[in-house]
Amino acid sequence: MSEHEHSSSRAFYVALGIGLLVLTAVTVKAAFINLGPWNPVVALLIATVKATLVVLFFMHVKGASEKLTGVVVVAGFFFLAILLSLSMADYLTRSWR
């Protein structure tokens, strides 16, 4: 009963691990290329891809027996986004007239 959630093979997880290491190398390489204002965006995008892979596959959110797990994860990041974005609403507009 408890095994149906973890139907991925060991090889899959190792491949994923290697993929994450590759993405890390990519993010370091990209940091040394001058992309202007896009550097932080690229870095955070890659970080988000890595985090998503960890959440979906290492933490077994994909294929979890209920949608509730996914809802909890999304809710957590959503409210973090609220904290960050509404605070920025203040800081970004302080210099406006």
């Binding site: 960890v54 990041f77 904290l83």
Partner: protein, 211 residues
Amino acid sequence: MEQQKNTASLGMWLFLVTEIMFFGGLFCAYLIYRLMHFNAFAAGSQSLDIRWGAFNTAVLLVSSLTVVLAVRAAQDGSRKQLVAYLVITILLGLTFLGVKAIEYKEKFEKHHVPGPTFSFTEKFDDNGKQIPVASNEAELFFSLYFAMTGMHALHMIIGCGLFTVLTVLAWKGHYSPGYYTPIENAGLYWHLVDIIWIYLFPLLYLISRHS
């Protein structure tokens, strides 16, 4: 049993949400100050050793893999493999902490630790242009650096402690394909600590590396 497993799992996920919001406050501070004092933050970031940072990122990612493999071993009933993977995970965690200790020592020697001894004379290397930065603003960067990596390291220590306890219990044969919930839930905690580092690395070490 299934209901208990699902219950414990949901409980751990909710706890992880609290950890996301807990670190979130620090990320909020970081975000705001980076925008306000970009040059100083970039200079501070450039003074960090990217090799250690990247190495530590790799260490943690591999440790997440070993955690997943440990859970897999518990599922399959392989006690020896379970213990082995747990031990490797702990060793990787300790490696991470060892590297952080080296990095902190280096910061201490360079007088980059905030407080009365702080002194930052490095410049922001902006595509070859050397821009001087305010020492006090750099101190703000390092305040956040130590707060964020320090809090992260504290969570790593707790994780290592947790896994140590589980390793002992696993060695004694407490876990089986029918019951390995603590391994799984400790694993969830470890993955989250890894995810936090996945974001900390680019934010702290990679602010402006191109030149």
